[in-house]
Amino acid sequence: MPLKEIRIHGRGGQGAVTASEVLAVAAFYDGKYCQAFPSFGVERRGAPVEAFTRIADEPINIREHVYEPDYVILLDPTLLSSVDVARGVKDSGIIIINSNRPASEFRLNTKAKIETIDMTAAAMEIIGKPFVNIASLGAFAAITAEITLESVFKAIDQEFAHKKAVAELNKKAAEKLYKMFRG
Amino acid sequence: MAEKNTKKIEFTLGAVIREPGSTIKNKTGGWRAMRPVLDQSKCVRCGTCWMYCPEGAIKKDEKGNFVIDYDYCKGCGICANECPVKAIKMELEKK
């Protein structure tokens, strides 16, 4: 597998950085090399945040920012009015948008494929709160097949080692989103 | 203290001085221009001079009298200034 680069968009407090880390850990459990890092900004609640993950079969030496991601995860579609989430995405790439609207309604300046999935509904139903950052990885696993759901579960268990109940809820939400694509 | 000292300098790591109390070898009493003279008949043994002396040059003898160690007294005059009964007078050093 050549190097795959993922950019996650969210707002400060929505957990985009944590999602990038859990994604990296999931890739690790799949036996891959990984790298996750935030956009090194000044963190403020509500401000647009970007976080990045790299996944590869070989050790990852590159340290530059991610400019041409293979995948984008948009946790909060309200960012579309202020952030160019399609920026640099490869033509062969996929942009995963948390929305209950069909992909055809999103007009983005890209040749990449757009997938929408209602992460918020799943999170509200299962977690009871609109926390979609971790659950989005279930959708990512189903849509891209770059990581396995099993490893996402392991990574969630590791992240929430001291909050077992939170881990279980996030796993359920991730699984629900996974099954929406791979029944 | 090596400038005037003809003694060979010991080049230890970090310039550490291994031998404790080496300043005793440097008799700084020679720097004195004014000499404190303690009048034992006026002294009330309060120990104020002993506490204030920045050089530790005032000692208590076996009789409980305070005595000035002229080997190290630099003649700063703090003792004379602090003495509550004016038992210490500063006199010009005769050399």
Binding site: C34, P38, R63 | M1, F11, I17
Partner: protein, 380 residues
Amino acid sequence: MPEIVVEASRAMALGVKLCKPKVIPMYPITPQTHIVEALAEMINNGELQAEMIHVESEHSACSALLGAQAAGVRTFSATSSQGLALMYEILPIISGNRMPCVMAVANRALSAPISIWNDHSDAVSARDQGWIQLWVESTQEAIDTTIQLYKICEDHSVLLPGMLCLDGFTLSHVYERAIVPEQEQVDAFLPEYKPYIKLDPEKPITMGPIAFPNSFMEFKKMQHEAMLQALKVIKNVHDEFAKQFGRAYGDGLLELYRMEDAEYALMGMGTLVGTARVVVDKLREEGQKVGLIKLRSLRPFPKGELINATKNLQGLTVIDRHISLGYEGPLFSDVRSALFESDIRINNFIAGLGGRDITQKHLRKALLSLKERREGGWLL
């Protein structure tokens, strides 16, 4: 040995924990704070038996570091940017007193304008203060080099303090795979700290006395000679580590990448080297004979090793993540001075100041500059 995905800051803390420091004076400053936060957590959990001293400034942190080390224990602290600048007064006192303190510097630009982001100006500016400076590229190297650094600094033929320099954010905030050595392995490699000299009421000594003009130079010369001796010790400790742990970083001083038949090469420190590896690989695929020199030890500077590594080169491009305002990149000055008697053409690019990303494009342009007869400059 467990392999984990870990933030480099936390990995640093895990590396430090394995070395069992007894006193950790700390003052928080981004992007270093995660390191000492993790150590505070370990102390609180009882995983690390150490005293953490919460001081009121970096100046005090550095002073407490000196005091604790003088009292005869292994110590650790960490800082960044203006925090290191505030420690400056104490840095040469620690080295002059020959105290083998170890400190991490999560490299960050010096203000103004205010920047919390990475460049090398903090530690490079402190280059002449008698601290060994080892610069790392990856999380694994940060852990491994921390363990090595204690052993290097504490070697009785060295007895100098050491800075472990890791790029702030660009490395400190990155999650990646790393192997955390087992405690028994580290114990077998790094013996318990035995101070060469310490403050002991039973055996009083004087530390930090005055040295008059008739002796000061000799003491400085001793420090300089210890630094030169450290070149050997860094290599030996690195080799011993490589043998025991199975991971090597060149010869410990320089790490050469695809230099065998290289005609042109890039040289730099820290994370930019990782991106440069990728650039070198791509240029090699295009048939360009290019290589890469990673400098691990800025002080002491491995002059002989550099001369050896570059003897078949036609051109060497030095990337500085710092500028000596009014002159040039300080690493470039060092390199050019070391290679003064060689015929190699050398040029210099200033890059990555205040968190500016150093991209493949930048490094490709820099690496081909001498071949294409272009001058150095700023990679903006």
